[in-house]
């Protein structure tokens, strides 16, 4: 496993063509920084450039993911594969969908807002690197870059609450990454190298403990049980756009990495990890759902419902096999559209710009998240439930308990997802609590056609994918066949 720098460079030079997307994105970030220094801060160039880059990368990775072959480059530290390309495409798409929210929420100081896009592009680059990483060094540096950008981006709301939530986020974040580093050092001590291999099995408790600690950094990213406390506080202080970014972008990265890591485990290690994930999934589901029921603050409600969704996905990961990965991917795609939509319509309401369209949009995206029939969320949830149902594992009672808890919490979630939109329509378009102090920082009424267009972007996919799920199902099944 020891490679001299000369060998590494020659290996990198031979495969440099596979790194072109990352190099191109780094150059774009440099260009963006230079533009930020010299251009007028209110210029629309920043938004257009951001949109062009994210949509471009999304299209590039979606189209090339089919004909890629599994390959590790740069002396085994960087992996190119169809599934990794798919995750990268989804990350880029996620950022592109965020534009309507970030545009509607001009922060306190208008001059600073191109910096948000700069940080998001950096997060995208770090996400590309982390997802492909097959070496703990790349993995750690990528993950921390994402964290650092998210710590910074919360502050752009410029309220006392935003700073407070940023401090809480950074404290929890560094604590989680310390635990992860502690785990990495144990893994290094047990294995003697820092590569993330395709087949990881360890027989010593020391090594298994290392992997367990290592999961903590990822569980923090996806807001699973022991590391879920920060999420409600951070979301309450952050703006809607940043809150949505935290609950979608970092979650997708966390789940992609968790899946990558879990699929590389084998033997006793895989069994133990699945059992731990199942138990954590149960606890996360219970905490998320029952906190969401009684929550009166809108943003905290959004956070707890996000934690409940995480619980479902963690439970599904515990039961994942290569064949039912398709359900996971489908769920994450629908989740992306529904959650961006939900945050967008809530933001409209807080801006005092709610119309009939926005209240219907809110109803549709929340019904989709709850998983009721006329929307794509139903298909996603039923696939996930069937995946958990069909999974057979040794401690039967844990996985059967998991199934029961998942079913109960799905029923509970119908209540709290439907309660808000219905009261919203009933009480003359008013919500339980809207914080008055934040209103000054929001943009004035926007162009109506622009609003209708961006609403359609969020609503149309969840309607369309219910009627014709084969639009993406064919693509997903092709991706899955490439997994060994």
């Amino acid at each position: 496993m020891n490679i001299s720098p000369k060998e590494f460079l020659s290996s990198l030079g031979a495969d440099i063509i596979f790194l072109y997307p990352e190099i191109f994105l780094s150059l774009i970030i440099l260009l963006y920084t230079i533009l930020y220094l010299f251009l007028d801060r209110k210029s629309p160039v920043f938004e257009f450039l951001f949109l062009a880059i994210t949509i471009g990368f999304s299209g590039y990775f979606f189209s090339t993911s089919m004909n890629q072959v599994l390959k590790t480059i740069a002396a085994g530290t960087f992996e190119i594969s169809p599934i990794n390309s798919f995750w990268k495409a989804l990350l880029a798409l996620t950022l592109a969908l965020g534009i309507p929210l970030f545009k509607a929420e001009k922060s306190h100081s208008n001059e600073k807002y191109p910096l948000q896009y700069l940080f998001m592009l950096t997060m995208l680059l770090a996400g590309f690197i982390t997802i492909s990483a097959r070496h703990w060094l790349l993995f750690f540096v990528g993950l921390e870059t994402i964290s650092i950008c998210s710590y910074l981006i919360i502050n752009f709301y410029f309220t006392a609450k935003a700073h407070e939530s940023a401090l809480k986020y950074i404290l929890f974040g560094i604590l989680a990454s310390c635990l992860m580093l502690w785990g990495i050092s144990y893994i290094y001590g047990a294995n003697g190298h820092l590569y993330i291999l395709k087949e990881n099995n360890c027989n010593t408790l020391f090594c298994r403990l290392g992997y367990l600690f290592c999961l903590s950094g990822l569980l923090f990213k996806v807001t699973a049980f022991p590391f879920h406390i920060w999420f409600a506080d951070v979301l309450e202080g952050a703006s809607y756009a940043v809150g949505a970014l935290l609950s979608i972008f970092t979650k997708i990265i966390g789940f992609a990495l968790l899946y990558n890591l879990l699929s590389s485990f084998s033997g006793v290690l895989a069994q133990d990890t699945r059992l731990i994930l199942a138990i954590l999934g149960i606890i996360t589901l219970v905490i998320g759902n029952f906190s969401a029921i009684k929550e009166q603050n809108t943003k905290r409600f959004l956070a707890y419902s996000g934690i409940a969704q995480t619980g479902l996905l963690i439970a599904f990961l515990a039961c994942s096999t290569p064949s039912n990965l398709g359900a996971f991917i489908f769920y994450l795609i629908i989740y992306t559209f529904s959650v961006w939509g939900m945050f967008y319509f809530f933001q409209r309401h807080e801006n005092k710009e709610s119309t009939l369209l926005s209240s219907i949009g809110l109803l549709l995206s929340m019904v989709s998240l709850a998983g009721l029939p006329p929307l794509a969320g139903f298909l996603a949830k039923i696939q996930v439930l069937l995946g958990i149902w069909a999974y057979e594992a040794t401690p039967v009672y844990v996985f059967k308990t998991l199934l029961v808890i998942v079913l109960i919490s799905t029923l509970v979630s119908f209540y709290y997802y439907l309660r808000l939109p219905i009261s919203y329509i009933k009480n003359n378009l008013s919500l339980p609590s809207i914080s008055k102090e934040n209103k000054d920082f929001l943009a004035p009424t926007q162009n109506d056609i622009y609003f209708k267009l961006s609403s359609l972007i969020f609503i149309l996919p969840i309607l369309l994918l219910f009627l014709v799920p084969n639009l993406i199902n064919d693509y997903i099944s092709q991706i899955i066949t490439t997994i060994p």
Partner: protein, 106 residues
């Protein structure tokens, strides 16, 4: 130099860094001053660095020592951001006590 390090058994390094790590965690959980909390976090990171270096010396493999440099760089960046946020909070509240952070429910 290498032999000097390896004269001490590896277990000692593990116990020492575990002790430092625990002190760091206790500091984060109990201290009320935000700057002291960040110092405790540095302590935790340094215990990881010590452990990685010890393993690295025992395996005579320099990879982990490079990792340690990266951890230091990332930790410096994170603490710089943390201190900047503390300055922002100090401007609002005139205090760096963690207890003043009660605008959001904990």
């Amino acid at each position: 130099m290498n032999s000097l390090i390896t004269q001490i058994p590896l277990n000692h390094y593990i116990f020492l860094s575990f002790a430092i790590f625990t002190i760091g965690i206790i500091g984060v959980l109990t201290r009320r001053n935000a700057i002291v909390v960040f110092m405790s976090i540095e302590l935790m990171l340094n215990s990881v660095n010590l452990l990685l270096t010890a393993f690295s010396a025992y395996k005579s493999d320099p990879n982990a020592q490079v990792f340690v440099f990266f951890i230091m760089a990332v930790a410096a960046a994170e603490v710089a951001i943390g201190l900047a946020i503390i300055v922002l909070i100090y401007r609002n509240t005139r205090s760096i006590d963690i207890n003043v952070l009660n605008k959001l429910k904990w």
